[in-house]
Amino acid sequence: MASSSARRGLEDEDASTLTFGPDFQDAACLLNSEVALMLESRLTNSAPSTQQKGNFLKAYEYVNRVKTFRDRENTTRARAELDKKKELHGFERVQLGNLCLDEPDEAMKLIPSLQMNRNQLDPGELSDLLATLKSFRQLT
């Protein structure tokens, strides 16, 4: 029973229409750089003898490889910049921050929900945002 309802839920979930199911619809999305900071502080705070689990290490290695913003300061600034765009869903904001795209067209293709009508973000605004995000990336 539980598995069939889980499967049904899964079929409804689709990032391109911003449907994430009951547990994640309003969950806080995290930038890879933010996850890197959180896991880093976890590693430094835990006793050196404690063994971290495989998933933790895999995630740690992954976020440190792909993170867009190298330090805490740039991550905070990027997050502040993204959160100014109230018309975007949290998922879209984080996708924009994580993928570090060059042009609005690329963003529209990779994040199809940006093309949905309810979004009032025009290409000019979007390219400004992408340029700002890029500058945080280069400052490092």
């Binding site: 899964l10 547990d23 933010e34 976890r42 998933n55 933790f56 995630a59 984080v94």
Partner: protein, 174 residues
Amino acid sequence: MFFYIEMERDLLLLPQHFGPNINRYLRDKLIEKVEGSCSGRYGFIICVTEVKKIGKGRIREGAGLVTFPVKFGAVVFRPFKGEVLDAKVTVVNKLGFFAEVGPLSVFVSKYLIPTDMRFDPQSNPPSYVSQVSDEQPMRVTVASEVRLKLIGMRIDASEIFAIGSIKEDYLGVL
């Protein structure tokens, strides 16, 4: 994508741990039990960040064990269909390739690789190479970084397996 969410779990505690350190025992037990686990509902639980609330314990009949409902916040990795992710290739064969996104394994079938990329069994390790002649050939091989889109997922009780595609604009080798 990574999310921060709040969850609730029931924890069993032995009577020998009742005492001034009970909260620490519960916390340790929670971390041991949920960190590194994977469920279809929440995805991969990477890290417990804080314990929000420990509810009233309930003694099990016939035994001294007590169940505590514990509310906590955690960082989880939960993939969604349609999401674009950067991944690292782990295995390449003639059917396609496997790539890793942190704890998640994604399979990209050869039908979801652009048709101008051919499997090259001669190379070591095996790879997919683009055939466009006027450019530097693009090569997908072990340890390559690719940008892919998740197009489907299979969720078991304790494992998530995803199917990805690099056959769209702006996807492929980074």
